[in-house]
Subunit: 313 residues, 3 copies
């Protein structure tokens, strides 16, 4: 297929073919990371702005390296010291960045929908690097990429997402991508964090961990987001761990080839025991490596589509 979208905003609106196109392109780019000279020329002379209104060193660096390895020039723009603090609106900040001929705006923002808003008002390409509890499309893509690389397919795969579903943009992006590609998704966690409404998205919902992981091909653990929860949704971390933490004992009851995934940063001893996080089932660090490949693919594909600074249209 030929890619035609100017932006990468969410996975909900992508077709299975579009998702597959990114995954296939990412496979090509993954090889670049293994070379001594980790650089290819497609974005040479292009300007990429990392507009991180909500801070995230990890994701920012992954996007920065993805852009740099495509030979783009990268500007980091964090909200702390910016005009946004002086009362400028997000739209004005973004319009200013575009007036500097930014070709790509990679935005992380605490408000769901902020990237979609920018995509409408800007000619520049917009990439959503996480918007509130809405979506984190490149995380969803790297998770699916990693599953496909290990299992050879997504269709028919049984994937259990575990933990703080309610507040998780990672969960939402995973659910969209997995269902579009034909996986069966189970959500599991404390009922306060996994409300029954998710059944309407076509997922199985359960608070019974044993049930949720028994026949799973993949168990994707979400990070307990202390910083994003306004009220305590479960009694204590200790209780969470005793009910939902993945331990060696629990791992033994899973399929012998189950994949353990986590978007990071992991809370060792909370969502997952160290032995499991570092064990043979864990692909947590591969996810990081694949994230870079997926982000290179996304920038590469949308660069080829309609968009860019006005003069180029």
């Amino acid at each position: 297929m030929r890619w035609s979208r100017k932006d990468l905003l969410d996975l909900q609106s992508l077709s299975p073919e579009e998702i597959t196109a990114i995954l296939d392109t990412a496979r090509e780019f993954k090889a670049v990371g293994g070379r001594a000279i980790k650089k290819v020329p497609p974005l040479r002379g292009r300007t990429v702005v990392n507009l991180f209104v909500e801070p995230s060193t990890r994701t920012r660096i992954s996007f920065e390296l993805a852009a740099v390895r495509l030979s783009a020039d990268v500007i980091n723009f964090t909200a702390e010291a910016s005009s946004l603090k002086k009362g400028e609106t997000l739209k004005d900040t973004a319009k200013n960045l575009q007036a500097l001929r930014a070709d790509f705006i990679i935005i992380r923002h605490s408000a769901a929908g902020a990237p979609h808003f920018l995509a409408r008002v800007l000619d520049a390409h917009v990439v959503n690097a996480g918007d509130g509890a809405h979506e984190h499309p490149t995380q969803g893509l790297l998770d699916v990429f990693t599953m496909r690389e290990h299992k050879g397919r997504i269709a028919g795969l049984k994937v259990t997402i575990l933990g703080d579903i309610l507040y998780s943009r990672v969960a939402r992006s995973n659910i969209w991508a997995l269902q579009k590609l034909g996986a069966e998704v189970t959500l599991c966690g404390p009922p306060t964090l996994v409300p029954p409404i998710f059944r309407e998205m076509g997922c199985r919902v359960t608070a019974n961990l044993d049930d949720a992981v028994a026949d799973a091909d993949v168990v994707n653990l979400l990070r307990i987001q202390h910083e994003r929860q306004r009220q305590t949704m479960f009694p204590s971390l200790g209780e969470y761990t005793s009910l939902f933490g993945i331990t060696r004992d629990r791992l033994k009851k899973m399929k012998p080839d189950v994949l353990i995934m986590h978007p990071g940063p992991i809370n060792r001893g909370v969502e997952v025991e160290s032995d499991v996080a570092d064990g043979v089932h864990s692909v947590i660090l591969e996810q990081v490596t694949n994230g870079l490949a997926v982000r290179m693919a996304a920038l590469y594909l949308i660069n080829g589509a309609h968009g860019g600074t006005p003069e180029e249209n």
Copy 2:
């Protein structure tokens, strides 16, 4: 003319020919921003340090992109985490940066004259990115560039600068450039912010807005600088807006081809109504685009002049 200055410190000391040389060079560089590959080689292998002792994301990014698009390597040095905090003097910090073979020091500092001081003690090229309430020469140049691009000339142009003149380095740099190139400058604002002393600079001074803008070819609105004023110089923002804010109604009383300018970031609803800021008379975003071109021109010209690290002299 042949450019011979090592530094760009202010517009007061430049000749009309020198100002025109920068504007003409900027016109060439503006085209680079419209290309897919926004990069030209003149500063390849040169080191540019952004020494921002007073923070400004917007101006820092504009200079960073200007240097990067000339193929220079850029180091960002902000005061927050620096040796300046450990009690090192500005001179020692700058001498250290030069010892690292920085070719250009772009400095923003709250003390008027700081760039001139550095220019005297350093062999490196120094560019003033704003010093206290003194000058902001590249802002003055980009404003004049934008006016010339739209009006075809500066000589004879009637330009009104509106607002917080007393504390504004933008106003001072504008006044110097405009007068050198033959424009007629009117200053308008609350008498506390536009003292009669400015008449000695050859400007018309008035507190009557209708009077100030009636026959203006350009109205340049200054930002109300909450952060730089130590005492309240006018009763309230609301009163400022009602007396001096540019509304649609006020715009109707101006010339049909008046240009509305603002150095940004704008306070929507304070200095200017949103409809006016986004309307056909506004060239606010063009100013941002032109700022990059002017900064590329300044770096390019002083690079060709005497200066640089000692070994090269």
Copy 3:
């Protein structure tokens, strides 16, 4: 000799030949800084991460420029906004950076031994940019490089290190390098800061300044590290200066060709009088220039050794 170490962690474990190899390589790279195009290609396409868990703008910039001038891509990672703040372990942070295919991790950390720990768990090259009060090997190397450049040799040189020895990683790295290359090291300062235990490292220890500097070829002044001392180890800055500060009068009693060195940033009027810091004996700014050359040499040499991302082994 052929360099074979994957990492640069300390000077204690290096042989005299290894230290000399870095110094000789640095001499070649010093010339690059004097050129208009300050760039050579050996690290093109390599990724260098500045992992500064303890902040240091000065050292970070020196490493950043060293990497950039070798044509590497550099990512700055400071602890402030990072996952380390979210409870991630240093090992996990470093493993994640390696999963992004970082080839080099340059680490500054307040815990002695942190770089050695990373070097064991990572395939990436690790460079110690200062670990607690343990070592700061590139500072030791640049100091020795500067002495050798001026004196033609290190063997037989009398070097006095003055000040806060107890808390100084700079002193430790200097002592190791100087003794391995055959210099005679004298330590001098208030007894609380220069305990007799240092005699076991083979140094002369004295609290008598006149005695310590009378026949010194080099006097290396350490910075009084207010920020790293938990208790006041001497009565006052004024008393320290009157007993140990290097003044013009004290300089007159030293050898006529004595070198005055300081790792910076200097406290003018505390460790050293301004006239001395800026005088003909001072090589303080040359140290900064040489630091860049030494860091380029270190990155260049370990790049040629075993190591790097797994795929390349």
